[in-house]
């Protein structure tokens, strides 16, 4: 039981490293989809009681993060018809090293955070912190607008992991509401990316600084 959760959590960490190291946007979309599916497994593994809450949540999050978002983003990528490279500000090897440092920092930080109730696994807080930080790092270190959507998703995955592990009694309505918000956000961002591309022929966000008011 505990070993199963730990394995899922380590797989989530590995997908984050994969995101830091891969150079193709298409690969990144698939990896984020995999991470979303892993979150579904995590929900199931962490709430083993027989209530209907965990399966519904797992199904909703896997369906949205593992199937709907990747499909939307792949469509946006295809419609935008841009170069499929990530074009990072920070190189891939350096990104991986920064990821390692982030993981160490997350483990250190989680070890000294006071926590209210006994949690499901001692790995869950560090992994949640790490995933959140990787999401932030992806948002600031990648040039393409699509990668920023993915970074936002990874950030949200981290927060979701936090909720799975720590907050026992989050009402299902709240969780589903967050998922709906996320869905709307990604939907809007997908459309925006397409429109930015149609207007400017690229989705490089660093060129936004050249705009004058």
């Amino acid at each position: 039981m505990g070993a199963g959760i730990d394995t899922v959590l380590i797989c989530i960490v590995l997908t984050s490293f994969l995101l830091l190291g891969s150079s193709r946007i298409g690969t990144c979309i698939r990896v984020v989809a995999l991470q979303g599916a892993l979150l579904g497994f995590l929900t199931l593994a962490a709430n083993a009681d027989s209530s209907l809450r965990a399966p519904i949540l797992a199904l909703a999050s896997t369906g949205l993060k593992g199937i709907a978002f990747p499909w939307l983003l792949s469509r946006a990528l295809r419609d935008a018809d841009v170069r499929r490279e990530v074009e990072p500000f920070v190189g891939y090897s350096l990104s991986l090293l920064i990821g390692t440092a982030t993981l160490a920092a997350a483990l250190w930080l989680a070890a000294r955070l006071p926590r209210p109730n006994p949690e499901v696994s001692s790995l869950i807080v560090p992994v949640a912190l790490f995933t959140t930080l990787v999401g932030l790092f992806l948002i600031i270190s990648r040039r393409k607008a699509l990668m920023q959507v993915l970074g936002y998703l990874v950030l949200e995955n981290g927060i979701y992991t936090f909720g799975v592990g720590l907050v026992e009694g989050t009402p299902m309505l709240v969780e589903l509401g967050v998922l709906l918000d996320l869905f709307v956000a990604v939907f809007v961002m997908g459309i925006t990316v397409f429109h930015i591309n149609r207007e400017f022929d690229h989705i490089d966000t660093d060129q936004l600084t050249a705009l004058k008011g």
């Binding site: 730990d6 380590i10 960490v13 490293f17 891939y92 090897s93 090293l97 160490a104 070890a111």
Partner: protein, 302 residues
């Protein structure tokens, strides 16, 4: 010291070229060819030993020392790695560091022998070799550190027999990460395909081959044999981490030999199924292996 401690070095020096034969045969079978006999590497070595050597006037004693010292260091390293149920001939706390440094010594003498020829081509190969091993070595050392942390022993002979099924059941994620990292190091350090293609002689693709272009005859035989033993050693280290220990000593030795054969087949399959990585992408792969090792260390630290 028991007689069984002589087994790992003896197996390493006798069976190492066979491992190359299995890799080549696997690749041939996948490609639909018959392929050379399994013992081809032994015939090649015998043929090279019978030949004379030609030395360029620009080379010095450094060039001639390279192959001899390189092989000697690798043979010495065979006495440090346990195999199957038999522990190594030499075992002391910290011998894993000596092991890594003996492999580094081999690399060092090969590199200075290559630089001694004064050929810019060999210098290029030496530069690449050193660059990549800089990235592969932390992955290897950190992976071993994670295993040492888990088993509580700083000696290879102390940590390998402790990795039984029970320990694996307890710490499967950590050990699986180490195995993955060591597999990448195994392929990289031996110049196998995702990093280097051992069969080509094209200037842009070579790492290991390019450094030994000026060696011939017995010198080349020593280098090829040393490379085969190094392949065996890193393979034995990888196999040692798998949970094949405990129970009947003969059974676990047989299991280890079978695992080495399987590893050679896996290497052959990897070489058949994927292309060599672009030179600029190799550091990413090796840093990735290092990240896996660091992850294993951090998980063990908790």
């Amino acid at each position: 010291m028991s007689l069984s401690a002589l087994l790992p070095p003896l197996l390493a020096v006798t069976l190492a070229p066979l491992l190359l034969g299995i890799v080549t045969r696997t690749k041939a079978v996948v490609a639909g060819r018959v392929g050379p006999p399994l013992l081809q590497a032994y015939h090649d070595l015998a043929k090279l030993m019978r030949k004379g050597a030609v030395y360029s006037h620009t080379t010095t004693w450094v060039f001639r020392t390279g192959p001899v010292v390189g092989l000697a260091a690798v043979i010495l390293a065979t006495t440090l790695v346990p195999f199957g149920s038999s522990s190594a001939l030499l075992a002391f706390p910290g011998d894993m560091i000596l092991f890594v440094y003996l492999l580094a010594l081999t690399r060092f003498v090969t590199v200075i022998a290559a630089l001694d020829t004064g050929s810019s081509f060999e210098g290029m190969g030496a530069s690449r070799e050193v660059t990549f091993s800089t990235l592969a070595e932390p992955a290897l050392l950190l992976g071993l550190a994670a295993v040492a942390r888990r088993t509580g022993s700083l000696s290879l002979s102390g940590m390998v027999p402790n990795l039984t099924l029970a320990v694996w059941a307890q710490a499967a994620p950590t050990l699986a990460l180490v195995v993955a990292a060591l597999l990448v190091v195994f392929l990289a350090e031996n110049g196998r395909i995702p990093v280097d293609d051992p069969t080509t002689h094209l200037e842009l693709t070579m790492l290991h081959e390019v450094m030994v272009l000026d060696h011939g005859g017995p010198d080349l035989a020593l280098i090829l044999y040393g490379a085969a033993v190094k392949l065996w050693l890193l393979g034995a280290l990888l196999v040692g981490i798998l949970p094949l220990h405990g129970g009947d000593p003969w059974l676990s030795s047989a299991a280890a030999i079978a695992a080495m054969g399987t590893l050679a087949v896996i290497t052959g399959l990897v070489e058949s199924s994927m292309a060599r990585l672009r030179l600029t992408h190799v550091p990413k792969l090796l840093v990735g292996a290092g990240v896996l090792s660091v992850l294993a260390v951090l998980l063990g630290w908790r």
